[in-house]
Symmetry: C2
Subunit: 469 residues, 2 copies
């Protein structure tokens, strides 16, 4: 059973301890966020003020004449344990501690965190943090991310959950998700993970109906076995887990130790365990974005065999290299398919895989080729490449072809359009059809490889879980 973390994401009432109107303060930013979009009750708490944004401000949480589900704490570190004690006495269920100055600073901070945790445990509360950006839930509007709104994009509601050990990097990725149109179920910057850790979060997200894909930036995990089991549970339940682990080299581990105090062991061991648990392991931010965009589609694929349809031979060769390098396979088209393609395409076209519809291909030639390869039982996934600089392509006709292709086949389709602004503009239109679209064949091949990695893991991980439990 996962821990019940609902009070963090959908509290009926929130106390903001450290609430303020003072410009530049975290307390002001959080109040502004909550008053703007969160529909539950908000209670500012600050010993210094009588009112904050027109709301009565309380000197202590104990004075609030209502039950409080969640307390967001943004006060100086040395006051946090006392404030937490008051939350406990008030019967608060969940603490979200934004304040820094705990284990991550060493010395006195370590002792402070121990004390805080002791309070949390004594009252049976749950805590996320300390030393974090907190939570953004686009469904409930709960939002403690205090970066200025003109620099910090926040995605709209969707199906991707993202948890991050690093607040700053998490915020940057969240901003990037927004630009890429990735829909979010929940974001959690969990900081020091003194109580609720990455595994608890993943377990909760497995049960969260809105979350279909789980993604994580991690420097070190608190409990390796627990983490691997959480990942395996997610995968077995049909939810992919994308993991970007920092600290993969000896020097990276050293840097992570000085950043979050994470003591990472050998990455190759960790990576092996992750793969066994069915995680989609990525190596950089760009790959995390590609994986999320691919898996957000919900597509599952029975095998690794890719067919390419392209109007440029060179791009087809590059895509072939990418597919084979990433452990996928170029589909061996059936004789029937090759014969059909031969009839449907001009003599100079290539009916073999990669299918080259030639530089003068109009959209309807693409349509025929895509239709024919998508019927071939030897094809699991399709990559369509268009060099949009060519005069022959009518972008809106191609868009319609891809729209119909997506509707008429269950096989995953990805799209590639290399080049500058014109190509990119039309690529984004294809992207909006729900077809993951990229500028370089290598990115599209990665997208397909993540789909395959996940799909291929589900049954294996189900069995592995039976052994584990």
């Amino acid at each position: 059973m996962a821990r019940d973390l609902r009070p963090f994401f959908e509290p009926r009432s929130v106390a903001v301890i450290g609430a303020s109107e003072k410009p530049g303060t975290v307390g002001r930013a959080i109040m502004t966020n909550l008053l703007e979009r969160y529909r539950g009750k908000v209670y500012p708490v600050n010993i210094k003020y009588d009112k904050v944004f027109g709301l009565k401000c309380y000197r202590s949480i104990l004075e609030i004449p209502d039950e409080i589900d969640l307390a967001v704490i943004a006060v100086p570190a040395d006051v946090v344990p006392k404030v937490a004690e008051e939350c406990g006495r008030k019967g608060v269920k969940a603490l979200l501690v934004i304040s820094a100055g705990f284990k991550e600073i060493g010395g006195v901070g370590v002792e402070r965190e121990r004390k805080l945790l002791e309070v949390v445990r004594r009252y049976g509360m749950s805590m996320i943090g300390p030393n974090c950006l907190g939570i953004y839930d686009p469904y409930s509007g709960l939002d403690t991310i205090f970066n200025p709104s003109d620099r910090q994009g926040k995605p709209g509601p969707g199906s991707v959950a993202f948890i991050s050990q690093s607040g700053a990097l998490g915020a940057a990725l969240l901003d990037w998700f927004t630009e890429q149109g990735i829909g979010l179920s929940k974001f959690v910057s969990y900081g020091n993970a003194a109580d609720v850790d990455e595994s608890d979060l993943i377990e909760y997200l497995v049960e969260d109906e809105r979350t279909k894909v789980i993604s994580a930036y991690i420097e070190g995990v608190k409990d390796g076995r627990k983490f691997m089991r959480a990942v395996a549970k997610a995968v077995a339940s049909g939810k992919p887990v994308v993991v970007l682990k920092a600290g993969r080299t000896e020097r990276g581990v050293k840097a992570a130790a000085s950043h979050t105090g994470s003591l990472a062991g050998s990455y190759s061991v960790f990576r092996g365990a992750l793969a066994q648990s069915g995680a989609v392991v990525v190596n950089d931010l760009l790959e995390l974005l590609i994986a999320v965009r691919a898996l957000e589609t919900g597509w599952k694929v029975p095998g690794p065999r890719v067919a390419i349809v392209t109007n440029g031979g060179g791009a087809g060769v590059l895509a072939t290299d990418a597919i084979e390098t990433l452990g996928l396979k170029m589909a061996e088209l059936s004789n029937d398919t090759i014969e059909e393609l031969r009839k449907a395409l001009p003599p100079a076209a290539s009916p073999y895989n990669p299918v080259d519809v030639l530089g003068d291909a109009p959209a309807d030639r693409y349509e025929k080729a895509i239709e024919i390869v998508s019927r071939d039982p030897n094809v699991d996934m399709i990559m369509v490449i268009a060099l949009m600089q060519a005069p022959a392509i009518d972008p809106s006709a191609l868009l319609n072809v891809l729209k119909r292709a997506k509707e008429s086949t269950l096989k995953p389709i990805v799209f590639v359009a290399p080049g500058g602004g014109y190509a990119y503009k039309h690529l984004l239109e294809v992207q909006r059809l729900g077809i993951p679209s990229f500028r370089d064949p290598i990115e599209a091949a990665k997208a397909l490889s993540y789909l395959y990695t996940f799909s291929n893991a589900i049954d294996r991980v189900k069995k592995y879980l039976q052994i584990l439990t």
Copy 2:
């Protein structure tokens, strides 16, 4: 001695054989290009017309009452040998054959190409093509790329030469260069390379004063030894050569054979030879762009040791992993440097590499840190990372810091700003300072690794060339 290819790039007079005003024709697109920007004399040739765009149109090149340096041929393939014969009789030096329908179609095309080449040789002409997009030279304005101008970006004058065996992919990359602000010296799509081949082009570019970086998309080379020697000559003369070779896997080789008829041998052997010749070998389009942008700076580095200055610990860890994975080294900062950093930075900052100036770092804290690490003799290159979502950063102040840093140190500096639109906008401002700037630390690390690969090769390749010759 390199072949004299100047008549291709800076002809005093050009005959366009197949010139036309008919919309959608290659002959029209080339005429339009030349009349718009090329300052030499242009003579349209077409048996069907008396005038083309107001110019007298000749029935044959033989009728033109002027010497012709370059003939651009865009007529049906079966007429090309006859037209080439006339060019020979006219005393034309250079033929640029755009027309397709030669070796690449097999059968009759092979024989046609053999016949064409025989004519070229008999008259002592040089030929680029057939089956190509031709040339774009932003200095002379010579431009035979016939894609519509609204879909095909063409870079302004600069120092990067780009040659491409594939016309369509070459055009897409050229378009992409434009978007990225990469300045071009020359672009050549050389197609079937029946006469002038990739090695001839590289040898010419080594002697071309405007070219400082040579980049190439290649499926197969005509003569491996000649190619490796051309690359080595370039590197020994201080010009990096970036090579993207398609057909790196067994299936990729097969696809390349069906595209351009290139018979590539084992890629690992080819790659080894390339490395020995000092080439910067890249694996995909994105890497080619990164390499070109890095090497366009002209920076040379004495060693592989990188210092990182970041306002986000997580990004610093990811960058560390990237650097170490790519064969670079994290610089071991000297004790003096560490001491200076400790004094200059707040207590919670990390004075070790990666240097963490903390999330609340204003621009002047970055300035101190960059200044201190750039003085350290253990540091060869610097990566500055800014998570721009943080409220503390004033982007214009940071821009000034980076401007001054670039002016005051000879060490290469690259910049990273992960995230969405706000971060990207400011990243592009830094990019315009001449500091290669990226969204993901992995890209910045690749940029530095290409700088190092090239710098490290120069002396070695000079010696290797002495042995070769």
